[in-house]
């Protein structure tokens, strides 16, 4: 019996049901932990039960009742114990899980009344089973700060009456956007940042992919879920090629494409296609389609830039944002004409909404470098260096600055 796999696979579902039954996040988490300990002890001896999840839920529920009985304020807990004992009267582990329980848990962790960073932390803690220390390390905050954040979030769920429900059909699309955003944030935290503990960061990307796979199993017909899964698989497929031996960032153009994960690309491409067919041009589906075009190019100079620029133009029209505008400008520069891309970047600069974002001057510098306007490129690389916060990106910009500064 591989308990690690079991823990991973059964924990979210068992916890989701326990939270519904016990109406208390902390009690559910502690009781489930105890049930796992009991399983490790008993299953190798007695054999694993036919339905491990039902066994865990039933055992954890009895552990929770014991815990409440042992609690100091026993009298105050009488009503709660009576309620729990009544609903737990059968000693047979009947399967009490509902597929909806997991969706309830996901929508509750990602409730918009919680701060976004609390949504992310709560999702990693309850759905992915990461420890407070692991989450704190991933987000570069001290563990007590992260613990406090989680306590506050659980407190608000309880005291403000955040429901443990799947939202009604009038709200579900809007709320699902929030859930997908949280998953995407988890992935980006692991993917974009290269500082900190590399293992924890790898884990975050894997957890995000696991989460969106879980969502897909629960909501198989929602095309944006397929789109997000496609996007994450395609981005993650380049993982081994993104950093060189020294830990420096390797741009898409310079990556060794033989290191890309072809199986993951194939799965991502199929999902991207499904997402585009099923739901039209969703935010994630379009980005997945762009990532798929990059993945299809065997060499950098075989990249279908005109098609990528066209997809970015569509993305910009349907889901406008300054960052999408910047990506569109860069794709136009690569696919059509450098000077047209430069003009678009200058328009974004003039609008001012991306001031302070290092990738704006970095993209401008890149185009100026390709145009051979080295002095102007150096100025832009310097302003990017003034804004960049990540070490690997800083080293990349410094290398480029040296290149354009060398030999006049």
């Amino acid at each position: 019996m591989d308990f690690e796999t079991l823990y991973r696979e059964e924990r979210p579902r068992a916890l989701a049901t326990l939270i519904r039954l016990l109406r208390d996040f902390d009690l559910a988490e502690d009781a489930l932990q105890e049930a796992f300990t009991a399983a490790i002890e008993r299953w190798p001896r007695e054999g694993a039960p036919a339905n491990p999840c039902a066994w865990l839920v039933s055992t954890a529920r009895h552990k929770a009742i014991d815990r409440l009985r042992r609690a100091k304020n026993f009298a105050a807990k009488q009503a709660e114990i009576a309620y729990l004992s009544e609903t737990a009267s059968s000693s047979d582990p009947v399967d009490e899980t509902f597929p909806d329980d997991l969706l309830r848990l996901i929508f509750t962790c990602c409730h918009p009344a919680l701060a976004v960073e609390a949504q992310v932390a709560l999702t990693l803690k309850t759905l992915c089973g990461l420890s407070v220390e692991e989450i704190a390390r991933a987000f570069l905050v001290p563990p007590p700060t992260m613990a406090q954040r989680l306590v506050r979030a659980k407190g608000k769920i309880r005291d403000a009456g955040i429901p443990y429900e799947v939202p009604g059909s009038d709200r579900v699309a809007e709320r699902l956007d929030g859930v997908l955003r949280v998953v995407y944030l988890v992935f980006n935290e692991g993917y974009a940042a290269t500082s900190g503990d590399a293992l924890v960061r790898r884990e975050l990307c894997a957890e995000a992919i696991r989460l969106v796979r879980l969502l897909r199993s629960l909501l198989p017909r929602v095309s944006e879920v397929a789109g997000l899964l496609a996007l994450l698989l395609l981005q993650d497929s380049r993982r081994s090629a993104r950093l060189d031996a020294a830990g420096d960032l390797v741009t898409l153009e310079e990556q060794d494409r033989s290191l890309w994960d072809r199986a993951q690309i194939a799965e991502g491409e199929a999902l991207a296609e499904e997402a585009l067919r099923g739901g039209g041009a969703g935010f994630y589906a379009l980005q997945a389609a762009i990532a798929a075009l990059h993945a299809q190019a065997r060499r950098a100079d075989e990249t279908d830039w005109p098609q990528i620029a066209a997809l970015y133009a569509l993305l910009l029209r349907l889901h406008p944002s300054p960052v999408v505008a910047l990506n569109h400008a860069a794709a136009v520069a690569m696919g059509e004409r450098l000077d047209r891309g430069l003009r678009l970047i200058e328009q974004i600069e003039a609008a001012g909404s991306l001031s302070g974002y290092h990738l704006l001057p970095a993209a401008k510098a890149d185009i100026l470098r390709r145009l051979g306007r080295r002095a102007e490129a150096a100025v832009a690389y310097r302003s990017a260096l003034g804004l960049v916060t990540q070490d690997a990106e800083r080293r990349y910009l410094e290398r480029r600055l040296r290149e354009v500064s060398a030999g006049g």
């Binding site: 403000a160 009456g161 429901p163």
Partner: protein, 119 residues
């Protein structure tokens, strides 16, 4: 659960409106109140006079100190409230989104802290 829906709005914006416009908004509030009474969510609610009529009271060293005006000068001011009964935060948010000022100002949703009855 009980929730207090606090209605914040820029008073100057409201009082700067022509009288007919103000009347229309009052009518909207009356319709809204009637609706949440019918649905059983309504417990209470009032509109407040503007902050120019506010007095802030503090007791310092046993002495009552009063100052003219609100507790804090902010861009939006508390203009009124509804006390409602809702089954959870999602229902309270839905009720808050129905208040006319949610389009022009903001509604703060505060759960009421359960306290033992006092007789």
């Amino acid at each position: 659960m009980k929730y207090l829906l606090l209605i914040y709005e820029n008073e100057k914006d409201f009082f700067g409106l022509p009288e007919a416009e103000q009347g229309k908004i009052f009518e909207e509030y009356m319709t809204y109140t009637r609706n949440i009474k019918k649905s059983g969510n309504y417990i209470g609610g009032e509109a407040l006079q503007p902050i120019s009529d506010a007095t802030t009271v503090r007791v310092k060293n046993g002495k009552t100190v009063t100052t003219d005006g609100p507790f804090a000068e902010t861009r939006e001011q508390l203009g009124g409230y509804y006390l409602v009964e809702a089954k959870d935060l999602d229902e309270a948010i839905k009720l808050a989104a129905g208040i006319p000022a949610s389009r022009t100002g903001s509604i703060e949703v505060r759960p009421i802290m359960p306290t033992p009855p006092i007789d």
